[in-house]
């Protein structure tokens, strides 16, 4: 069952999944996705409840989809038509859970060796040794999971899942709660391991930071469907759905009504709800009178203390600073322009402009910083 020595089994993971779950309180949850994961890192991104973990559970064989198929390379793991349903034990799909699920009563070494049942003792030890050193945790072998740090536990969980030489690795937000530096170190070790093995790695997350840090390919999911895929830039910069936009870190979510379409200019004017404020946004599939949602990043908004002139930017809105608060390395401003905008500035800019609450300011929005999103 094993790939021998350094031989690389570069197999694509494909999954077409259909699944319906009745829920007591609301409409049924419907999962309907079709994804292809080539060797290397892919990120499954989306808000909580989008169905990301269910996709992983289906691929691992822990949840049986109502229909579809799952293949790893030439091997069929599940196919509803030919009634193939490989049990999780035989899929050779490694899965690291969000809670890691290390066995609390076993030592680190016993945990890592758990998946090697039936191998001769010498080979067992060799493989355990290889993985312990690949993830730099040789010194912890005799400890129990409760006696080591969070980052170390994450390394052990990775080592335990990869010791079986799987053909696919599934990661369900295993690195949440770690600081960026530690996270990057662990991901580097994982990349180094995968440079030699070349298996598809599907990494689930709901935070934008992780997409930026890890991403090569991103698949964005919402409400049980794939809503977009591509590079992190493509997927995150133009979210088509409101919930995804919120997850992707668009601090300003505004709603409004289209008052004018200027197809020649490639723009349309939108009056923001409950205010006289009008802004220009890129032309979308809509007609005058339609209600639309607009997502704007707080960091994409410019701020001026005198009314700017001679600008290419089409949207200049007057307002008043409501409050200012420090958020890590930036200052978060709430500006009232009839509707409230969130603006992020650097502490330096805030000081040199002598900003304070109550001050009159002008916000400058580039047309293409205003993203139209679906409900």
């Amino acid at each position: 069952m094993d790939t021998v020595g350094g031989e690389v089994d570069s197999a694509m993971l494909t999954a077409r999944l259909k699944l319906e779950r009745r829920r007591a309180s609301s409409s049924p949850f419907v999962l309907d996705v079709s994804i292809e994961i080539p060797p290397g890192f892919s990120i499954l991104f989306g808000p909580s409840g989008a169905g990301k973990s269910t996709v992983l559970d289906c691929i691992a064989g822990l949840v049986r989809p109502d229909g579809g198929s799952i293949t790893a390379g030439s091997e069929v793991l599940f196919d509803s038509e030919s009634r193939v349903n490989c049990p999780p034990q035989a899929r050779r799909v490694a899965y690291v859970f969000q809670t890691l699920a290390l066995f609390p009563h076993m030592s680190v070494e016993e945990n890592v060796a758990y998946g090697l049942n039936g191998l001769p003792q010498a080979e067992r030890s060799a493989r355990v040794e290889e993985l312990l050193s690949a993830f730099r945790v040789e010194k912890l072998r005799a400890r129990r999971p409760l006696e080591i740090s969070g980052g170390e536990r994450q390394r052990i969980a990775l080592a335990r899942s990869l010791v079986t030489q799987p053909r696919v690795l599934l990661l369900d937000e295993p690195l949440t709660g770690l600081d960026a530096e530690l996270k990057a170190a662990i991901v580097d070790d994982l990349r180094a391991w995968n440079a030699a093995h070349g298996i598809p790695i599907l990494y689930v997350t709901h935070t934008r930071d992780e997409v930026d840090a890890l991403g090569e390919r991103v698949i964005a999911m919402d409400h049980g469907r794939v809503v977009s895929q591509g590079t992190p830039l493509e997927v995150l910069e133009a979210p088509r759905r409101k919930r995804l936009a919120q997850a992707a870190g668009f601090e300003n979510m505004l709603s409004g009504t289209i008052v004018d379409l200027r197809e020649a200019d490639g723009v349309m004017r939108v009056r923001l709800s409950e205010s006289s404020c009008e802004i220009e946004v890129p032309l979308g599939h809509a007609k005058t009178g339609d209600r639309v949602h607009i997502a704007i990043r707080a960091g994409d908004i410019l701020l001026a203390t005198v009314k700017p002139e001679g600008l290419s930017a089409r949207n200049v809105i007057e307002g008043r600073i409501v409050s200012m608060e420090a958020r890590g390395t930036l200052i978060r401003l709430r500006v009232d322009c009839g509707v409230e905008f969130i603006v992020h500035l650097t502490p330096g800019a805030t000081q040199s402009l002598e900003l304070s609450a109550g001050k009159r300011v002008w916000l400058v929005l580039k047309t293409h910083s205003c993203h139209l999103v679906e409900e």
């Binding site: 064989g61 822990l62 999780p88 899965y95 859970f97 809670t99 609390p104 758990y114 998946g115 049942n117």
Partner: protein, 230 residues
């Protein structure tokens, strides 16, 4: 003294049988998705609420020369089941069943399901998952099951009287012995036996709490008490 030894022997046999038979039953009750499971759960819990005399009565009828168990035993071993030690063991197993099965179910259910998923994904079948993950993490439940079925069997009275009668050395357990002594106004004798029973019960429970404290520390688990498991 014969009565005490008989009681201990009975309690050992019953706890051993209950542990061996209770584990598969508890595993099934803890993890099965069968829709009719509640029926079996009710049957297992029945001895908790049934008067011992009622349970004893039906067991006695079943074991009698015309009952199904009695005739089966007669053909297999050449003698009846009622008023024998074997009959007593069988009745006690039924009577103490919930005291063994319920703590086991509770502790099996408290094992994190993600650990079972992790085990499956790592290639372990059900049996290996049970021995390597579920059972080691359920030690407190196993100890509770053993102790409760042991203590409950030591102290039972009604069922023994119904099924076993009062035959010295065969079915006269310590609780019946105490009752006999009190009936014939031998309070000193009764007191001696009662004290021994009290001491044994106390010693066993002390041991259980001590073991669980140790296990709790090792696994970082919440401290367990036998009565919470019911």
């Amino acid at each position: 003294m014969t009565a005490l030894i008989l009681s201990l022997k009975l309690a050992f046999c019953v706890s051993a049988i209950l542990l061996a038979g209770g584990m598969p039953l508890a595993y099934w009750l803890a993890y099965s998705n069968w829709r009719g499971k509640f029926l079996l759960e009710a049957v297992v819990a029945l001895p908790l609420v049934l008067p011992p005399t009622v349970l004893g009565f039906y067991v006695l009828v079943a074991m009698g020369p015309h009952g199904p168990l009695g005739t089966l035993w007669q053909t297999l071993f050449g003698h009846g089941l009622a008023f024998t030690f074997e009959g007593l063991v069988l009745a006690s197993v039924l009577y103490s069943l919930p005291f063994a099965v319920q703590p086991l179910i509770a502790s099996f259910e408290s094992v994190d399901r993600k650990l079972l998923d992790a085990s499956a994904v790592l290639g372990a079948g059900r049996l290996r998952t049970f021995w390597r993950v579920i059972l080691p993490l359920s030690i407190p439940g196993v100890v509770t099951a053993l102790v409760l079925s042991f203590a409950h069997t030591m102290g039972e009275f009604g069922v023994v009287l119904m099924v076993g009668g009062n035959l010295a050395g065969i079915t006269r357990t310590v609780s019946i012995d105490i009752y006999d002594h009190v009936q014939s106004l031998e309070y000193a004798e009764a007191n001696r036996m009662a004290l021994v029973l009290l001491a044994i019960s106390f010693a066993v429970l002390t041991m259980v709490y001590a073991i669980n404290r140790q296990v709790g520390r090792q696994m970082g688990r919440r401290l367990w008490t036998p009565w919470a498991a019911k």
